[in-house]
Subunit: 189 residues, 2 copies
DNA sequence: CCAAACAGTTCGCTCACCGAACTCTCCTCC
DNA sequence: GGAGGAGAGTTCGGTGAGCGAACTGTTTGG
């Protein structure tokens, strides 16, 4: 969202990172990307962000190297957005902010989602460590599972919300899309 | 800054915390508060935030329980803002965002500030652990010290910038103000 | 060929942010 | 006691960003 006018000398690292992820959509979009959301329409439906703003934010994040855009050939005009290593490195930020929200602004009925270690399925503590084996769990080894506060999705819920009601490994596509509508068109490699 | 219109069901913890600290000033203000900034004019001078916006953000943070406002009697119309326990709990967030900025948007010449463990003065790693003794250092046990990328403050630098050029313990007042009516003038020297 | 799905774009509207100037209160010095 | 200064906000008009809804253009499936 392009920070202030200038930085007038206070170019601290926190201000610099705020230039990229200093606005709610530029945090919620990577958060959903950790959950496996990949496509424009999925972000739009799950986040409720205006499509014009979503276009801008995706371009911002791609330009910043947080997301990368890869067209999916053979599936129509469908683009996929995935986290780059720089985006995956946001995991401590997303986790810390989420943990703070859980602690100080708890949802009625408990957390809507809980994180677990994929190896032993034990929940993670607020610092991102497995409560069972004690290791610091990277995003790729974490599962997101529905928590006690999550209301069951209605029949008209969007596909992302529905898919998030089932345990799922982070960073893997949340919704399987037809790899190629028809594989008769010679697989492009 | 009052999030979107409503939450339309996606009341996840990250969105909830973004309601409070989801905007650059509401992160930079607590960051400065960790550094020991306490007063309206110090925030205004160091952050360069418009005073009207600062008034609003301080009220937001006080209302959210992140800061508390304590008038200092006997010192004129001077207010002090300090972090509450809820505000101190933002430390992992501030640290993680700063570390991400340091790693992916490095400043020319290196970091402007480095964090050290107050007990052994060893620097902290990106996870906030002491590189010497390995303990996870809480904010109250951390020092902020000038890093290699910090240009020496000019003679006309604001007092906060000048004070931050010297090592200093977090969460302690950065600038000593006259406790009562006796105003030792001569902030220079 | 037609309809549906999907990824964006366009378009007013409103509100938040900005910078500068102003006000108000309390304190100190003479 | 009055003048002056320091500090904490407040006021105000201009500008830009975020918003929702409707629209465009392309690809796929029937």
């Amino acid at each position: 969202m392009t920070l202030p006018r200038d930085y007038r000398g206070r170019t601290c690292a926190l201000a610099r990172s705020s230039e990229t992820v200093g606005e709610r959509w530029t945090r919620l979009i990577p958060r959903d990307a950790f959950f496996g959301v990949r496509r424009f329409g999925e972000f739009a439906a799950h986040l409720g962000v205006p499509r014009s703003v979503l276009t801008d934010r995706l371009a911002t994040l791609v330009g910043a190297g947080v997301l990368e855009r890869r067209p999916e050939p053979g599936t129509g005009r469908r683009e996929a957005y995935g986290l780059t290593p720089k985006g995956v490195a946001l995991w401590p930020v997303v986790r810390a902010l989420t943990a703070w929200g859980e602690e100080f602004h708890p949802a009625a009925g408990g957390p809507r989602r809980v994180l677990r270690h994929s190896e032993d399925e034990a929940p993670l503590d607020p610092d991102g460590r497995c409560t069972e084996c004690g290791t610091s769990v990277p995003a790729a080894d974490a599962l997101v599972a529905p928590g006690p506060g999550l209301a069951p999705p209605g029949p008209d819920a969007d596909p992302v919300t529905a898919a998030l009601a089932r345990p799922h490994r982070l960073l893997t596509p949340l919704i399987a899309h037809a790899p190629a509508g028809r594989p008769t068109r010679g697989p492009r490699e």
